[in-house]
Symmetry: C2
DNA sequence: AATTGACATGTCAAAACTGGAAGGTCTAGA
DNA sequence: TCTAGACCTTCCAGTTTTGACATGTCAATT
């Protein structure tokens, strides 16, 4: 149940936020960390309220509801942070395709990896640009947000290099093998 | 719907497999690529059969059912491989915690990153050992499986280095800042 | 005055996933 | 002979996620 803590965590750190605020944060700040749809965010907000971990602190102009964490909520966040974590389930659609790339013609398989490398490069550049652009504050959200952004950059960089390596590996297999003492 | 194609893909590549066979492959071969529980595997097998993408080719000794892909199944796998892929949803429980690590005392936050780095190192070593141990055949499953295994190794390596970097970054913030022209 | 677009929430059905429980078969070794 | 362990399948209840649809407010532009 991590969505719960993602929502709770944001409310604690921001010291008050609306569902709409959270949605935007999920789209931007948490994009590479945890995704959530709008219906999930509002649903979780309702559940957290029912469980007494957050409460509506104020109601704004357009039906806006400003949520704030209760003491129980802050406690629950800490509990979760310290808690042992089960092995995360890794699921990766791109990797899954690579696993079955043998069903495609060698040329197509290599093209897939080339495209993938290019895409990863773009994403890496996007995050790198973000890192340069954004002026960071001094608060915790900034500090730890910076760490996760750097993670994203490294992640895409790694993926790009791996895809390039894999493509070369495929090329090596497609080409007639040459002896080491050749050339 | 990637589980569907993971199951279908394995059946195509193995040219026949039982639910039990697939489960083991999900535990070992696909562990870093796509996870599935036993109930998911058997459920998907039933659905794929109903949709005519696979069929029971033979029944073995212990109630074992050997599934094989139909032509429609092989076609569907190819279609999926070539198809455009939507942006994958990235979800990472460890990263999520890092994002909110500001709620913990600095010492605990750093300890979390240190532990994380150590764990990632272990996993990397585990995969590296696997790479050495396993004798690979010449079939497609081996070739592409090798690529994904190497991915896993690089992934954990990257994470380890990142966690170490992040820990150092936190240390830098905790310590009184010194001038560049000091020392 | 009308329109566009950002702001803002609520609800729902369907699909996917989790974490079991339950039951049966065959093989090798004590 | 017994029994532990690998083999093998089926079913299910509960939770999470997806991908909409529906509704309305307010501010600025045309």
């Amino acid at each position: 149940m991590s969505l719960r803590h993602a929502v709770l965590g944001l409310i604690v750190e921001l010291d008050g936020a609306s569902g709409y605020d959270l949605m935007k944060l999920f789209e931007i700040s948490l994009a590479n960390v945890w995704t959530a749809t709008q219906s999930q965010v509002y649903g979780e907000l309702a559940k957290l309220t029912a469980d007494g971990l957050i409460e509506v602190a104020a109601e704004g102009p357009r039906g806006r509801k400003e949520y704030r964490a209760t003491d129980a909520g802050r406690e629950e966040l800490r509990r979760w942070l310290v808690e042992e974590q089960p092995r995360p389930a890794r699921r990766d659609g791109v990797l899954l395709k690579v696993f079955f790339l043998g069903q495609l013609e060698p040329g197509r398989a290599r093209a897939y990896l080339r495209d993938s490398a290019a895409l990863m490069g773009e994403r890496r550049d996007g995050l790198a640009a973000l890192q340069e652009e954004v002026t960071w504050g001094d608060d915790n959200l900034s500090l730890y947000g910076r760490l996760t952004l750097e993670y994203g950059r490294r992640f895409f960089e790694m993926r790009k290099e791996w895809a390039e390596w894999a493509e070369a590996e495929l090329a090596r297999h497609a080409a007639p093998p040459e002896d080491a003492d050749h050339a």
